[in-house]
């Protein structure tokens, strides 16, 4: 019986050079030409959308093309009395968008535009007895939110405001036999969750708790014959998983375990030569999310046309240097 390998085939005429100018034009125009319907559909994650767009512009040294004041005013308007920040005006606050907002303000060196103390109180208030973090006041628990909490506090220099030991204990309780992590204790390992958990352990100085060889093994097995990486066994390769797997490998010091040249070929093939931007897979529709992770992945692979990116926070290294934050990496 034949099996169908879940992978893509990269066509000979797929893009193989980095089209930076096209990508910058694509992001700069994004949002202005969107019709009501598309814009409405994704408004629930607008703050993260802005973070993706601005970060990739900064990595391409094109941040000045974006409307700084408008964005800062927007973020201010999204901060709620509780201190938390929402995806957009009129939406409810959540840790996901609180982190995105703080990341954007760091890019603009304007953290003081919001009430920082309240943000810190908000994050602190979401920590549970077992050390985990709820995403918002309704109480959903996920290791993603543990990452959001410590990343927000690390960027604000306020990590000491939470019970770090307990937070670490919870994240470690989500570690699996394969060295990976899931969203909660007992959940399946998933490359996105692994990125959050290794990032979390980096920011809290606990990377020695990771079984780097075992986890590195699992992460390397995500690479498919096309060169692209998937997020779990027998899933299709995807540019965003390429970032999460690659960044995790970088954090645990095992990035040299995968075939970098093949991954680069895969990522480049996901560009759209006409519109600019990256898609999840070659030939699909582009979006700002995959555009950021495509460009950031190429940066981690050493492309010198792009600014160096930090694997833990997915932000330009020069921004983190400015605020004096250098998350740990294993060697």
């Amino acid at each position: 019986m034949g099996t169908q390998v879940k992978d893509v085939i990269i066509k000979p005429d797929a893009p193989s050079a980095l089209l930076l100018d096209k990508h910058a034009d694509y992001i700069a125009a994004y949002g202005s030409k969107k019709d009501d319907y598309e814009y409405t559909l994704s408004e629930y994650l607008r703050m993260s959308g802005i973070y993706w767009g601005l970060t990739v512009m900064d990595l391409m040294s094109q941040l000045p093309r974006m409307n700084r004041q408008e964005i800062i005013d927007f973020i201010k308007a999204c901060q709620h009395d509780c201190g938390g920040i929402s995806a957009s005006i009129g939406h409810d606050p959540h840790l996901l968008y609180t982190l995105s907002a703080v990341q954007i303000l760091c890019l603009y060196d304007s953290v003081d535009a919001i009430d920082v103390d309240r943000v810190v109180e908000y994050v602190k208030g979401l920590q549970q007895e077992d050390g985990s973090f709820a995403g918002d006041k309704w109480g959903e628990i996920d290791t993603r939110f543990s990452f959001c909490a410590v990343a927000t506090l690390a960027l604000l220099g306020k990590m000491d405001m939470i019970n770090v030991d307990k937070a670490v204990e919870f994240v470690l309780s989500c570690m699996n036999f394969d060295g990976g992590f899931g969203c909660r204790p007992g959940s399946e390992s998933h490359a996105g969750q692994i990125y959050c958990c290794t990032g979390f352990l980096s920011l809290t100085g606990q990377l020695h708790q990771v079984n780097a060889d075992l986890l590195g093994w699992w992460l390397c097995e995500r690479q498919l014959p096309s060169g692209g990486l998937n997020g779990r066994p027998e899933k299709l390769p995807d540019v965003c998983y390429s970032w999460w797997v690659l960044a995790s490998l970088k954090i645990i010091g095992r990035i040299h375990w995968i075939d970098k040249a093949k991954l680069q070929t895969f990522i480049l093939a996901c560009q759209d030569e006409e519109t600019g931007g990256f898609a999840d897979r070659p030939g699909d529709m582009v979006d700002p999310f995959h555009t950021l992770f495509g460009v950031a992945g190429l940066s981690l692979l050493g492309d010198e046309q792009i600014k160096p990116v930090n694997p833990v926070l997915c932000m330009p290294e020069d921004v983190l240097q400015r605020i004096g934050l250098q998350p740990d990496l294993l060697s």
Partner: protein, 472 residues
């Protein structure tokens, strides 16, 4: 087609009403979808109800969504007033079109808290949204919140029950408590169905499977029968979805829970043979009438739960592992080249190895002169006690367990109960060892030319040598 703002207003309000009326007309709607239809047809509602399927014609979505979206956000900013009924209808339409709109679910949470909505209504709405968007993270998150409300209510009644009460109050509370526990058992069952449905609609659906795990952890804690029944019913499902890594992970979770939560270790059996493990948050609907139906030849909950307060015996755990590895071998041979199956094998063998080491550790730490010795040495070299032959050729539940020779050597049993079972001739399956795993891999490599299969087999061998080899 409606063009002016006023026309859109009128149109959309009518459509929102049509959707609400469709649910009133047919409370059994079980699926939603968008009907491709680029233009409006004269004087006909874009809401179509055929049997239990609710469809919305695609042309109206681009008017409908922005309208309900903006209405809700204006309400949230206190710029526009909506009464409760309108809020229920608007959030319903909105979430069926865009179920990841977190704030709309939050509005419904508030309506639920003040008693305007019933928890079941929201579980139903989520279920429908999942028929079109089976991954939708926010829908799953909302479900967990609603289920937690139901659980809290149950626990609150349980708490009242513990306080001293007399006469009628006590009686009423007992009835209420029984009703709630039946309700909870039904909710659990229904939730498993929703998860299965979403898992069938989208392969390796992380959100559906991690939700299913959450549900068991919160609503069936300690209820071994539920875990056993899940393991049995999943057997067929995974056999038909051999690429679904999440489905197999769920099996691994069940197996791990069964052996860690429900296996009564020899130590706890002698020291405190309590039946606490068996007390459950959700009593199964018929706690003392275990189903005797055999599912797919697997050890049923009844078989496993019939012993000592539902604790698994040593032999039962051995059987669970044996059956799992046999299932895995079968599938690997029948469906070559699936990474998921090889990954499952790693996990099962890892669990087995860990469990075995724990048993050995417990025996040695108790200074037990009857040690468990599950030897990894070459089968040819091992001494096989007469006991280990007991039942070699017997079948349990219609399944033969002696398909391949496996060594059991000098297994002295810590639990007198197990010895009794052996004397009765109950099967003691062979044990898994590194050697038996290596021969399995070699047999695959010798006979298979599928390059993927060979790649996974070699990787498994390497994993055995390094990860397991270093532990043993």
């Amino acid at each position: 087609m409606a063009e002016s703002e006023e026309e859109v207003d009128v149109l959309v309000q009518r459509v929102v009403k049509d959707i609400a009326n469709a649910f009133k007309r047919n409370p059994n709607i079980d699926e939603i979808g968008v009907i491709p239809c680029p233009e409006a047809r004269y004087n006909r509602s874009p809401i179509v109800l055929v049997e239990n399927k609710l469809g919305v014609e695609s042309w109206c979505v681009k008017f409908l969504l922005p309208y309900v979206h903006n209405k809700l956000l204006l309400y949230r900013q206190r710029k526009h007033w909506l009464d409760r009924e309108a809020l229920v209808d608007i959030t319903c339409t909105l979430l069926l079109l865009n179920p990841d709109f977190t704030t709309a679910w939050n509005v419904r949470k508030e309506l639920l808290q003040c008693g305007v909505l019933h928890p079941e209504k929201d579980l139903y709405l989520g279920q429908l949204a999942l028929t079109k968007f089976p991954k939708s993270p926010e829908t799953w998150i909302h479900r967990r919140w609603v289920l937690q409300q139901i659980l809290d209510q149950f626990l609150a009644v349980g708490h009242n029950k513990n306080q001293e009460q007399q006469g009628e109050a006590e009686q009423a509370n007992a009835e209420r408590s029984q009703q709630l526990s039946d309700h909870l058992a039904r909710t659990l069952h229904q939730e498993m169905r929703v998860c299965s449905d979403a898992a069938c609609r989208y392969p390796s659906n992380y959100n559906a499977w991690s939700h299913r795990i959450w549900v068991l952890q919160h609503m069936a804690k300690g209820n071994g029968k539920v875990f056993h029944d899940e393991l049995s019913s999943m057997r067929l499902w995974v056999s038909m979805h051999v690429s679904d890594h999440s489905g197999f992970h769920y099996r691994q979770f069940l197996l791990q829970e069964l052996i860690t939560e429900h296996y009564q270790t020899p130590a706890s059996a002698t020291i405190n043979g309590s039946s606490q493990h068996w007390s459950s948050t959700v009593p199964s609907s018929s706690p003392h009438q275990h189903s005797c139906t055999q599912t797919n030849g697997e050890l049923s909950g009844a078989e496993a739960a019939s012993e000592d307060d539902g604790q698994l015996s040593f032999t039962t755990v051995l059987q669970l592992f044996q059956q799992e590895i046999e299932l895995c071998s079968d599938l690997i041979q029948s469906f070559p080249g699936h990474e998921t199956l090889w990954s499952h094998r790693r996990h099962v063998f890892y669990l087995w190895n860990q469990w075995k080491r724990e048993q050995q550790h417990q025996c040695s730490s108790r200074g037990d002169n009857k040690s468990i010795h599950l030897n990894d040495s070459d089968p040819g070299m091992s001494e096989v006690s007469p006991q280990s032959y007991a039942g070699r050729e017997e079948s349990v539940n219609g399944q033969r367990h002696a398909s391949e020779p496996m060594e059991v050597d000098r297994v002295s049993l810590p639990n007198p109960h197990d010895s009794k079972r052996l004397k009765r001739g109950v099967l003691l399956p062979g044990t898994l060892t590194l050697t038996s795993e290596h021969s399995f891999v070699n047999s695959i490599l010798d006979s298979c030319c599928n390059p993927e299969q060979r790649r996974f087999a070699v990787a498994y061998k390497k994993w055995l040598d390094t990860v397991i080899g270093l532990q043993s």
